[in-house]
């Protein structure tokens, strides 16, 4: 009896799901945007912010970009690289979308870039910072509305040298994003005359830092540069402060260290200086209007991820306006986007030859529950786009 009821329930659920998917049948003339973002797992909140930002811009344009109504198809990428190729192919082959937007996780984004390169579908990356997306993997139909891992790292290298630090230790997870961020930092810091004494790493996603904090204390560098995000960032900042190092060896990081984590980090994060292409108190009219509209629509405060989603929609809008709503005219689309200045809440930016934002990287300091701007670490910073040929 029990199993039968269970089976009935399962069949019912399957039917309901089938109805839900066929209900949204494609109408002629609509532009299909495939959102491949994390809806579950560690990055779920980031996926929601990106989707909200994207939809907010489309809504502001009356639901249309380039004269075509926008229809969404969603896939949860679970931030899982092994499933990435299957997931992106669902959008390309099953749903036959016109444009793909995604994602947060760099490993997943790389698989998406590969699929976009092979299929020729338009891809806009609204977060993943993997250098290669606008480096070795670059293509005329791939754009990024966020940043490259290299950018905040490089900017911080220059900024820390300018603040008088001669030696530094770096610490990050041993994975691509961490490596790239540290490489960017190293380039900026050494170019400005600094010296990196040691690169420390922790296996991803381990969060036991005590051994390496002890090592930092025994090396005694002028400062520490770090790249952590999410739960790892919270724990690292708290452990660093609890180990008593915060007062003696200043801690710096790429902005993700203190973004969306301040409530959890509390007093331990107070005063930390980070670099990112967005901050909480930019106080320009564009940003104020965006924040107000976002808060009104979603009853949430926007963050850097929401801005990146918003700008992904702007990039799509600019390209589609130039091609009269035809996403297959790739050369015209790319030419229009390259020429354009994107009026972002973060401040206006353009796209580089390899389609990565050329943008100001802000120097920010944690004050209360905000990342306040204290200056610009690097003006109009261009990612070198190494390995990009197109």
């Amino acid at each position: 009896m029990k199993t039968r009821m269970f089976r009935l329930a399962a069949v019912g659920a399957a039917l309901a799901a089938a109805v839900a998917t066929t209900g949204a049948s494609a109408a002629e003339g609509k532009l299909k945007v495939g959102l491949m973002l994390p809806a579950t797992g560690t990055f779920a909140a980031l996926g929601t912010a990106i989707e909200n930002g994207f939809k907010l811009y489309v809504q502001e344009q009356g639901g249309k970009l380039g004269g075509r109504e926008i229809e969404y198809v969603k896939v949860d990428d679970e931030s899982s690289p092994p499933k990435a190729t299957d997931n992106v192919n669902k959008l390309i082959k099953r749903d036959n979308v016109d444009v793909i937007v995604g994602t947060v996780h760099s490993g997943v984004a790389m698989a998406m870039a590969k699929a976009a390169k092979e299929s020729g579908k338009l891809l806009i990356v609204p977060n993943a910072g993997a250098d290669a997306v606008t480096g070795a993997m670059c293509a005329p139909n791939i754009f990024r509305s966020s940043f490259s891992n290299w950018q905040p790292g490089f900017a911080m290298g220059e900024a820390m040298a300018k603040r008088g630090h001669k030696t530094a230790v770096t610490i990050t997870w041993k994975y691509a994003a961490g490596d790239e961020s540290v490489r960017g930092f190293k380039e900026g810091f050494e170019k400005a005359g600094g010296k990196i004494v040691k690169d420390l790493t922790v296996p991803f996603p381990q969060v036991e830092f005590q051994a390496l904090l002890t090592e930092i204390a025994s090396i005694k560098p002028d400062a520490v540069y770090t790249f952590f995000a999410g739960g790892g960032a919270v724990k690292f900042v708290k452990d660093y402060a609890a180990a008593g190092l915060k007062a003696s060896i200043p801690l710096y990081g790429a902005g993700f260290l203190t973004d969306g984590t301040l409530e959890a980090q509390g007093e331990a994060a107070s005063g930390l200086i980070t670099t990112l292409h967005y901050a909480d108190s930019l106080a320009n009219a564009r940003d104020n209007a965006f924040r107000l509209a976002y808060a009104k629509e979603f009853k949430l405060q926007p963050d850097v991820y929401a801005v990146q989603g918003y700008d992904a929609a702007q990039i799509l809008g600019i390209g589609l306006a130039a091609t009269k709503g035809d996403p297959t005219k790739k050369a015209e689309f790319a030419a229009a986007v390259r020429k354009a200045t994107i009026d972002s809440p973060r401040g206006a930016f353009s796209l580089s030859a390899s389609h990565n934002p050329v943008q100001d990287i802000y120097l920010r300091q944690v004050v209360g529950d905000q990342n306040k701007v204290i200056g610009i670490a690097s003006k109009e910073l261009t990612d070198p786009g190494r390995g990009c040929r197109m």
């Binding site: 579950t40 909140a45 790493t201 051994a211 002890t214 025994s218 919270v234 724990k235 008593g244 969306g260």
Partner: protein, 294 residues
Amino acid sequence: MMDIATLLVQCLNALQYGLLLFLVASGLTLIFGIMGVINLAHGSFYMIGAYMAFGLAPIVAATFGGGFFSTLLVGVVLAVLLGYLLEWMFFSFLYEREHLQQVLMTYGLILVFEELRSLLVGDDVHGVQAPPWLAGSIPLGELMTYPVYRLFISSVCVLLALGMWLVFTRTRLGMMIRAGSTNREMVQSLGVDIKFLYRIVFAAGVAIAVFAGMIAAPVSSVYPGMGNSVLIICFVVVVIGGIGSIRGALLAAVLIGFVDTFGNVLLPQAAGVLVYLLMALILLWKPDGLFRAG
């Protein structure tokens, strides 16, 4: 190379991390080690504990006037109820089944708990404050300080290990549980209500996992997916220690603490695999783990 002072601090780090691992894995020692159920949802129980530390504190403060220990107590009581209910609804059907079915069901529970967590609390990262009287730190060397709360966790671990060991080896209850894990039918025919007994053991296992999550929350912070990250290392602890041995689990946890700490410092390139290498070597040498119970 390392000077003596740094070496000593690293040993303290290693020991402290090892004890923390034991705390996190101890609930699994009961459910997997002694009852023999492959419980992948162990990490979820740990996560529930951490979220309880975050979510219950304000509620407890409002109703009972707060306090670290009253929050812990409320959490543990809720956990016992949860464990009791889960055993009655799901796990009691699993004892005689194959391991694969246990894996499937407990994996399903992970998904359910993660989704519930997302619906109830959201996907943000949260922090939990250590109680003020444990929030200080002790100076250690010229630059470093050591948080008192970490030392508190270590002593809780030692007490827990001692308590579990005493119950299992020195009491009548422990004797019945051990007998039950060897031969269910025999124990039942001797007039022991084995079903009820196992329900209690399971509830205790869940309660200890939740307790570990609550105690560790101020150090580990609270975030989605935190249970999955501890799950594998917990199995490693139980397997190295020897299925069902509390002594073994404690020794294994401390061993892993040392290998991991010094691996991170001396061999950072291989730090991710050293623990598993250790497990492989120990299992080659002693296929049943360090101490096989019964």
